[in-house]
Assembly symmetry: C5
Homo-oligomer: 97 residues x 5
């Protein structure tokens, strides 16, 4: 699973109807220190992650399909956790989420 930072939202009116009602967040991939490392992607969010939060995200939307009670939702990306801290023990460093 990847480290990411929530940087915004996407508004889409014309979309697959199974995506109705799902918040579409923009996530910037980061390294554990918070540096951007790649191109932003669009993911579903049902945890209420705020803009600026560090999150755990995956390229799969199955979890959100279950939460909203739909099957086969064509969502490929979701936030599955909000990070409190990253403890890099081998470097004796702790990074706050």
């Amino acid at each position: 699973m990847k480290f990411g930072r929530v940087i915004g939202n996407v508004v889409s009116t014309i979309k697959n109807e199974k995506l109705y009602g799902i918040r579409l967040a923009v996530v910037e991939p980061i390294d554990p220190d918070g540096n951007a490392i790649g191109n932003s992607e669009i993911v579903g969010d049902y945890l209420g992650a705020a803009v600026g939060n560090l999150v755990i995200w995956i390229a799969d939307g199955e979890a959100i399909g279950k939460v909203v009670g739909k099957q086969n939702v064509p969502l490929r990306g979701s936030i599955v956790g909000i990070i409190d801290k990253v403890d890099l023990k081998n470097q004796n460093r702790i990074i706050k989420g």
Copy 2:
């Protein structure tokens, strides 16, 4: 899910028969600001995305299989939403689709 811009279409006569009747669009991957960031791919489209539209796309064709009433369609890429706007709150910027 990825940001993309529709830049054209592909015409293919000899193809897997489950692909018959599905519009094959060419999508250029972009960042949230609309800059091209990678190699174009071929995706199915059933939302009627016009050339130039910013879209949300995935590397999966399952959603289109359902729409056209076929199972196990060997389509790996589809447009699932047309973007109205991207709201990059952490930068106080809004990008129109």
Copy 3:
């Protein structure tokens, strides 16, 4: 789905038995203009794509498993269409397959 050009074939005697009888083609990934953009891969072909043809290919072999009447074929790559032309409307260009 990706743009590719067929550049040859692979011969393998010792292989998973479910791969018996499937033509294994070498496909070079290309951009819509036909320029090589990455490392060649090995894919199954049942459409009879000739060396030099531009094709649509996917990293999945499910479609070929159905055609040859086998389940769970460990094939991860197949040609699903032969390209007649790519119409890049936003650039007023047409590329012949």
Copy 4:
């Protein structure tokens, strides 16, 4: 499957409830010689890999779902083996885990 080194842990309070009780480790992708080769990812661990261990990891969490007795866990990454040694026979080298 990929070579990796465990470099720390992630603490997340607000997360998908199916992730409760699963240790989330930070794994740094490495080459067989132990050199870092890419961005760290977050994976589940149920083998008790210590910080500093070389491990075999995959971008899938299915195995952990079975171990903890849950289905459809939205975990995409897990440690499936701790490496004792890598025997690079073609170079007459053995690397200890």
Copy 5:
């Protein structure tokens, strides 16, 4: 599917029990000419590929699960063919495996 060269083996004592008894080979990704093109991965092998062999490999272990009679094996990588030769017809070249 990818071109690869077998360069060694991995020994792991503590691992998911479904991996017991499966040979774990180290495969170096190559281009059709045998040049290394990326980072080595760990794959299962049941075809008896020798160190130095050119092989066809996939990022999936399903085929090996069937061979060893287990379901849901958390193996993500396997050798599915040993290459005899690659016939690059468009360049009038044949590369021996």
